[in-house]
């Protein structure tokens, strides 16, 4: 298991300036849903965006601190469009 603070610390380094929302899907601290709005996603497809997040959390997934990761990724422009 992993804490939201640890996830945030890792992602802040890999994707600076991102807005991150985290949801512990099972309460067990190893199944997470992440909402990430990042300027780093600009101009990239969803596959690339998810790869960037998966790569950033590679270690945490490799040693099973994170067992499952559901991702919702948006560029700031996409996020704004959703809100309006």
């Amino acid at each position: 298991m992993i804490t939201p603070e640890e996830i945030r610390a890792t992602l802040d380094k890999a994707l600076p300036g991102s807005t991150i929302e985290m949801q512990d899907l099972t309460g067990g601290g190893d199944h997470w849903q992440l909402f990430i709005v990042s300027p780093a996603f600009e101009g990239k497809g969803l596959v690339e965006q998810h790869r960037m997040v998966n790569d950033a959390l590679k270690e945490e997934m490799g040693d099973q601190r994170i067992h499952a990761l559901a991702l919702k990724t948006y560029t700031p422009a996409q996020w704004e469009k959703l809100g309006s």
Partner: protein, 109 residues
């Protein structure tokens, strides 16, 4: 061996407008994520081919290396990896899947 699997996968990905690697078959999916992906593809009424990775361990492992993507299902449209269940769902919700399919089947949007 790896090359053999890659060749096999490559052929299917290139010879089918829409190719789905899944667990089970479209009518008898063996996993909720595969089932949901089939449901989305079917909602567009386009033909798609599929392969059951549970029937062939070499393909199950090979497809992950082929796309460098860790999970199954995997959807390929026009020879390009489009995503797994999450991404296909998201593209569907955002209305971005239809133009990709239309482009593959040569329909104008």
């Amino acid at each position: 061996m790896a090359d053999e699997v890659f060749t096999k996968i490559d052929e299917k990905v290139k010879n089918n407008k829409v190719m789905l690697y899944m667990k089970g078959t479209p009518d008898f999916p063996q996993c909720g994520f595969s089932a949901h992906t089939v449901e989305i593809l079917r909602s567009y009424g386009v033909p798609f081919a599929s392969e059951d990775v549970l029937a062939d361990p070499a393909v199950r492992d090979g497809i992950k290396r082929y796309s460098n993507w860790p999970t199954i299902p995997q959807v390929y449209i026009d020879g390009k990896f489009v995503g797994g269940c999450d991404i296909v769902h998201e593209l569907h919700e955002r209305g971005e899947l239809e133009p990709i399919l239309n482009a593959a089947f040569g329909k104008s949007t």
